[in-house]
């Protein structure tokens, strides 16, 4: 007898409460699988469930149909484990009780690698799958692999190098941390990496699970069903989509844009996702730069995910100037879906996902001068037209589900996924 595999997706957050790329990818996967008729659940960490009342009732809060929330119990980037083993055991009881064929974790932050460990032992016959979203296990600096002092990129972890970033800790701390995280993540039957870049980093770190593959996150049925964008944005209009955080490189973009503007007056920049005040809160030194480009820049504030393709269609280019490696940025997937070519930093997941001359252009990471060059080059109509014509689309549902099927170890027949049982 064969039936569709039942999958429990366990994620660090629910997109109803936060809009990070990881939780978006996890939830879209859940929705997609459910639309295909797979029995599935979405169980996510949420501070809403971190209350004594919820804990008293087993620690799991029913949310929507087949959706549940659990309290992450104060888990933090520097505490990737459950403080209360009893609370963890209660969640494992709940998860094991679902009887899923596959437990698919998205990220381990706020989920706890120790939860993976305990669940793997409780349900040895089930398949444990993990999708990586960044490198927190490898790097204690928000998983970014960027040195804490300056913005120097880190290319390889070691306990000694980590002490260089965190002088208040010692080598033993980082050795123990690595041993705990690596040996725990090794319990996964399959690991999915959204990019070759992050796969290489984890493998170099020592993670070699029985099954590993690169499988890009799925943008979801809603966005993928919409017709490919036919954007109206001109070649000289650029857009930034995201938060002005330390690693997203908005400061590089603003400086590069100011430089480019001195030579090419017709350029414009739209900032989606934040207001000018947000930018100045992170980068007070940019005040004069913003004043300089004031007439050519617009801050649009926060936007809804459903609007993103339309918004991307209003600009000629999407710029992703992150100073950290990135993994598989959803902004790149969305831009590809929108048909808007990209200008990205030449490192990590960005360089991998944006083929230069096909999907967009690269510039030297962290260099306003090189970004200025790239912006001016991009503003040429023939360059823009060529890349709009060649930019590839995001991963489609069929290929995504096929990738999942392989990771889950299930067979594929008659267009439906089946798992052997009995």
């Amino acid at each position: 007898m064969k039936r569709s595999p039942s999958v429990c997706v366990i994620a660090h957050a629910h997109p109803d409460f936060s809009k990070g790329g990881g939780e978006m990818a996890a939830y879209r996967q859940f929705v997609t699988m459910r639309s295909e008729g797979w029995p599935c659940w979405y169980v996510a960490a949420s501070d809403l469930a971190d209350s004594p009342a919820v804990r008293a009732q087993g620690g799991v809060l029913a949310y929507n149909d087949d959706e549940h929330l659990f309290g992450p119990s104060g888990m933090a980037e520097d505490q990737l484990y459950w403080a209360d083993a009893g609370q963890r055991a209660a969640l494992v009881d709940f998860l094991a009780g679902l009887g899923a064929d596959v437990y698919h974790f998205h990220h381990y932050w706020r989920v706890g690698p120790d939860l993976i460990l305990e669940l793997a032992e409780r349900r040895p016959e089930a398949r444990i799958v993990l999708t990586m979203h960044e490198m927190l296990a490898i790097c204690a600096h928000h998983g970014q692999m960027v040195r804490t002092k300056g913005r120097e990129l880190c290319r390889r972890e070691s306990p000694v190098r980590c002490v260089g970033c965190f002088r208040e800790r010692d080598i033993e701390h980082f050795t123990l941390r690595k041993a705990y995280l690596l040996s725990t993540l090794r319990r996964c039957d399959a690991v999915l990496y959204p990019s070759e870049f992050i796969r290489a980093r984890y493998e170099e770190w020592g993670l070699k699970p029985p099954y590993a593959a690169v499988l890009e996150n799925f943008l979801g049925n809603d966005l993928m069903r919409r017709p490919r964008g036919t954007g109206r944005g001109g070649a000289a209009s650029f857009g930034f989509f995201g938060q002005p955080t330390e690693f997203k490189g908005l400061d590089i973009l603003l400086r590069g844009f100011a430089l480019a503007l001195r030579e090419e007056e017709k350029l414009s920049l739209s900032i989606f996702g934040c207001e000018q005040e947000d930018v100045l809160r992170f980068f007070p030194a940019l005040e004069k730069v913003i004043e300089e480009v004031e007439s050519n820049i617009v801050f649009y504030g926060r936007y809804d995910v459903d609007e993103v393709l339309d918004l991307m269609g209003t600009v000629g280019w999407v710029v992703m100037p992150s100073i950290w490696w990135e993994n598989s940025p959803v902004v790149i997937q969305e831009a590809k879906r929108a048909g808007t070519p990209l200008i990205v930093s030449d490192i990590g997941g960005m360089a991998e996902k944006v083929a230069p001359g096909v999907d967009g252009l690269h510039f030297k990471r962290g260099s306003p001068a090189d970004l200025s060059r790239a912006l001016r080059h991009a503003a040429q109509p023939e360059v823009h037209a060529a890349l709009r014509a060649s930019i590839t689309d995001s991963l489609d549902k069929e290929r995504f589900l096929a990738g999942l099927a392989e990771a889950y170890g299930v067979t594929r027949a008659s267009g439906r996924l089946r798992v052997a049982v009995g």
Partner: protein, 500 residues
């Protein structure tokens, strides 16, 4: 007028006793020509009884007007006498000889008798009892562990490690290490006719908990007119053994004094580094002499301890598959150790039958194993506490510390690590090892052993912390040399095990 020998040799008998402590002794005094060589022999029905102990001492309570006559008190202990009807004492003083009849021995208690003796006689008998095997039983008599000397010892003044004026001593300092060693440094006033002399006997707790008097097997002395340094090391002590008190006899300025001295208990590095300071405190301000003293002491230690260390069982690996196999995980002092043990729990359970966890976070680390309930877990705040339980003797012990175990886990070497255990019967050696070449904590030495195992893997062995004082460098080299003696075979054995 002609005098016969009986006029020139006079004898006074105090006691002829068969002591319930298991010896036969005769005490009294003799008056003989000054300077004459004295001999006393007990005769049982004419048969000479072997003297196991003979000593003389002044008897100021007996005197003669004749200045050519010298009165000496005596104590003689004889071997077990045959049944006899007639007892006699033959006394010789150079070429003079007399023989007197003795009354039959009466029963008595040595412990009571010695309280009335000269302390010279008591101390001398005590030393004979420690040196003469056939008198060893005397020390075993009674319940105190100190034989008939217990009550007398109670009367000997008890001084702290650093002492001021006492008898001829102006200042003194006593130090002890856990390797059964003491040093006594004494400063005297100037103008001594002869360099002062020092003898000492260790007073240590025995295995049965009762105190014991033990002679020093190795002694080094540094005499000067105003200063004496004494180093004593017990010959066959079960280490660690920090001597809590020393019975000291000091001869200076024509008098003798006795004291019980409580040395300062120090780790080996502190004991070695403290020598110079103690000598200065006792009035020896010559750095070169202090360095020479320390070098002599280090040489003696190295010669004495090298064979002990080389023979320690910690360097021997147990045969593979020898069960039960106990994981002894040390240095669990980081909160993350709880995560480490939890993550490694399945492997610990696969390769070991028990886990002993030691460190500040050992209790937290043990929670996961205890919750799983598949292997028994012992928790100890220190390795010493675990060893004192003595529960690992019948096991093969796999030792590691948090960092090395974490590295093994990262590199997938836990199985290999667990395959190289040593017999638990040799764990007691650990404490000896610590006493001789460690800083006093068994855990510290064990971690050095763990490092030694890894040394062949490229990790540098931990060095001893800098030792202060003029001989600090020499002391550090000495400890590291001892360490290498013990660790070399272990590293080789670990390498062989890993290859296998």
């Amino acid at each position: 007028m002609a005098l016969d020998d009986a006029d020139l040799v006079r004898v006074g008998l105090d006691q002829f006793v068969t002591a319930e402590e298991g010896c036969h002794l005769l005490t009294g005094w003799v008056a003989v020509p000054r300077g004459a060589r004295l001999g006393l022999t007990v005769l049982a029905d004419g048969t000479q009884c072997e003297a196991l102990h003979f000593t003389t001492h002044p008897r100021p309570d007996v005197s003669f007007d004749d200045p050519t006559v010298e009165v000496r008190g005596f104590v003689q202990v004889i071997g077990p006498p045959p049944p006899a009807f007639e007892w006699a004492l033959a006394v010789s003083a150079d070429n003079l000889a007399v023989e007197i009849l003795l009354p039959p021995p009466i029963e008595g208690r040595l412990g009571e008798l010695v309280l009335n003796w000269s302390w010279i006689a008591v101390y001398s008998l005590l030393r004979s009892c420690l040196a003469e095997e056939r008198l060893g039983g005397v020390m075993e008599s009674g319940e105190s562990g100190l034989g008939p000397f217990a009550e007398w010892l109670e009367r000997v003044p008890l001084l702290p490690a650093t002492t001021g004026a006492f008898g001829p001593v102006q200042q003194g300092q006593a130090l002890a290490s856990p390797a059964g060693e003491v040093t006594l440094h004494l400063g005297f006033a100037g103008g001594q006719a002869h360099a002062p002399e020092v003898h000492a006997v260790a007073l240590v707790p025995g295995g049965d908990g009762r105190p014991r008097a033990l002679p020093f097997g190795e002694i080094i002395l540094d005499h000067a007119e105003q200063h004496v340094s004494f180093y004593g090391r017990l010959a066959e002590a079960r280490l660690p053994c920090t001597i809590p008190a020393v019975l000291v006899e000091i001869a200076a300025g024509g008098t003798r004094h006795w004291l019980r001295w409580q040395p300062e208990r120090l780790s080996v590095p502190a004991f070695l580094s403290g020598q110079e300071k103690a000598r200065i405190a006792a009035g020896c301000n010559d750095p070169a002499a202090s360095l020479a003293w320390l070098r002599g002491l280090l040489l003696s230690r190295e010669e004495g301890f090298r064979p002990v260390l080389a023979g320690l069982g910690l360097t021997q690996l147990a045969p593979a598959g020898n069960e039960p196999r106990v994981l002894l995980l040390l240095g669990l002092n980081n909160p993350l150790c709880a995560r480490l043990v939890e993550a490694a729990a399945p492997e610990i359970e696969a390769y070991c039958t028990e886990a002993v966890l030691v460190g500040r976070h050992a209790a937290e680390a043990g929670q996961s194993l205890m919750r799983r309930g598949r292997v028994p877990v012992q928790i100890g705040p220190s390795l010493g506490a675990v060893l004192r339980r003595g529960s690992l003797a019948g096991s093969t012990v796999v030792m590691s510390d948090a960092t090395h175990f974490a590295e093994a886990l990262i590199e997938g070497r836990v199985a290999a690590l667990c395959a190289s255990g040593f017999p638990g019967t040799h764990l007691a050696d650990l404490r000896a090892f610590s006493a001789i070449a460690g800083s006093g904590e068994a855990e510290e030495v064990m971690q050095r052993l763990v490092h030694a195992r890894g040394e062949r893997r490229g990790a540098a062995a931990p060095r001893f912390p800098a030792i202060g004082g003029i001989g600090g460098a020499a002391a550090g080299q000495h400890l590291e040399a001892l360490w290498r003696v013990a660790a070399a075979p272990l590293a080789e054995a670990a390498e062989v095990a890993e290859v296998a």
